[in-house]
């Protein structure tokens, strides 16, 4: 009798465990799908004063395109501004710094105080072996998480390459968990005419970019959710 009871009880608990696990997974999935659905929608119900903005600088041509975009954005709306570049790229932050400095000269003060510059570890350098890159990827993700917890941006501007990927994924997770709602804007590089870059493709397919811009009409035809905006350069 006793034995039968115990058996019944264990069967019940295992059933309950399964039920709980299934429920949790369903809730998480529903939440993720809801966030994906909600992400691409404009935030028209509120008129924000200003938004904290994370700007991910790629390198070389990517940085030039990003700074071109920034020159068109109202600095009093997109403030404070956090610039991030790969730790191995010391040119990009310098260029961003120059641009911010020219803003100070134009407006007379203030602007530079609302800008911060930081570097992020890259998960993989060109030519690094795949075995060591497992370890460096873990470090890079931890570092990205630390940075994102610190600044919790409302807007993320990025245009590749891979540096922006962990930051965008973390921003998406923040939305899922409810830490911070943010809008991610991805502008595919002008160098991509016929095919998206890997980071672009991932952000597009996973719907992690709220708005996805391409600079060539051929790409827009292939990826209909993208917005064609003409050449930035």
């Amino acid at each position: 009798m006793e034995k039968g009871n115990g058996c019944c009880f264990s069967a019940m608990t295992s059933n309950a465990t399964i039920l709980v696990v299934v429920t949790i997974i369903t809730i998480i999935l529903t939440r993720v799908l809801y966030i994906m659905y909600q992400s691409g929608k404009p935030l028209c119900n509120t008129t924000p004063q200003s938004v904290s903005t994370l700007i991910v600088l790629g390198s070389g041509g990517h940085t030039a395109e990003m700074l071109n975009l920034l020159s068109m954005l109202q600095k009093d709306r997109f403030t404070p501004r956090f610039y991030i570049a790969a730790a191995t790229d010391n040119m990009s932050l310098q260029k961003a710094h120059l641009m911010e400095k020219s803003l100070v000269d134009m407006t007379g003060g203030e602007a530079l105080e609302s800008a911060q510059f930081m570097q992020i570890y890259r998960s993989r350098e060109v030519g690094q072996s795949y075995i060591t890159s497992v370890w460096t990827t873990i470090i890079a993700i931890a570092h990205a998480l630390w940075i994102m917890i610190k600044i919790r941006p409302q807007v993320i501007l990025c245009n590749g390459p891979g540096t922006c990927l962990p930051l965008c994924v973390i921003a998406f997770l923040f939305k899922v968990v409810g830490i911070r709602w943010s809008s991610t804007f991805y502008v595919e590089s002008i160098a991509r005419v016929r095919r998206l870059s890997l980071s672009g493709l991932l952000l597009y397919k996973l719907r992690m970019a709220d708005q996805f811009f391409v600079q060539w009409p051929q790409l827009q035809k292939k990826y209909p959710r993208a917005h064609y905006v003409g050449c930035l350069m």
């Binding site: 404009p42 008129t47 071109n68 068109m72 002008i190 991509r192």
Partner: protein, 178 residues
């Protein structure tokens, strides 16, 4: 500056740039005698090579006895002045130097590096070549391109801007259009 030379013959420089890459195939292609002869025959007087991280060292020449003046350097913090003073630019396919050159309205030949693993860069050069903003070549076809090119056929590039993107971003975030 350069007054002493100017009355002898106007300087017409061909500037070759590989950016921060290693592109020996291009440096080798411009360092051949027939290539330099062709440039000279087309009225160019100087060949300046920015060779980046490459290991192939081109041969310098002071241009005596009626030949091309050849010089090279590895890197420079800004190649803007080199581009500005050039009469023809031969560049690697990086978007940075392509657009910097096009904005200066300099005739441009982009040479695609076929040794790169992920060679997406040829996409941009080929697209702009189709639009007649530049000539696109490979290291082995560069001589052919120089020998047959007609600079008159190139169309000026009209630079775009980020205004449409900025507008969409502002709208998305609920900022009013101004």
């Amino acid at each position: 500056m350069g007054d002493a030379d100017d009355y002898i013959k106007p300087v017409r420089t061909v500037f070759v740039t590989v950016g921060t890459t290693c592109f020996d195939a291009l440096v080798k292609a411009v360092d051949t005698p027939e290539f330099k002869r062709e440039l000279f025959a087309r009225g160019y007087t100087d060949l300046l090579i920015q060779m980046g991280r490459g290991s192939y060292i081109p041969t310098k020449s002071t241009g005596e006895n009626g030949s091309l003046v050849v010089d090279f350097f590895t890197f420079s913090s800004s190649i803007a002045d080199n581009l500005r003073s050039a009469s023809l630019v031969i560049s690697h396919a990086g978007s940075g130097s392509i657009f910097e050159t096009l904005r200066l309205r300099k005739p441009l030949i982009v040479v695609v590096n076929e040794d790169l693993m992920d060679n997406h860069q040829s996409e941009l050069a080929e697209e702009l070549a189709e639009r007649k903003n530049l000539f696109c070549a490979r290291p082995q076809t560069l001589y052919q391109t120089i020998a047959t090119m007609n600079l008159e056929s190139l169309l000026p590039y009209h630079p775009g801007d980020a205004a449409p993107v900025a507008k969409l971003i502002n709208r998305f975030l609920g900022f009013p259009d101004d």
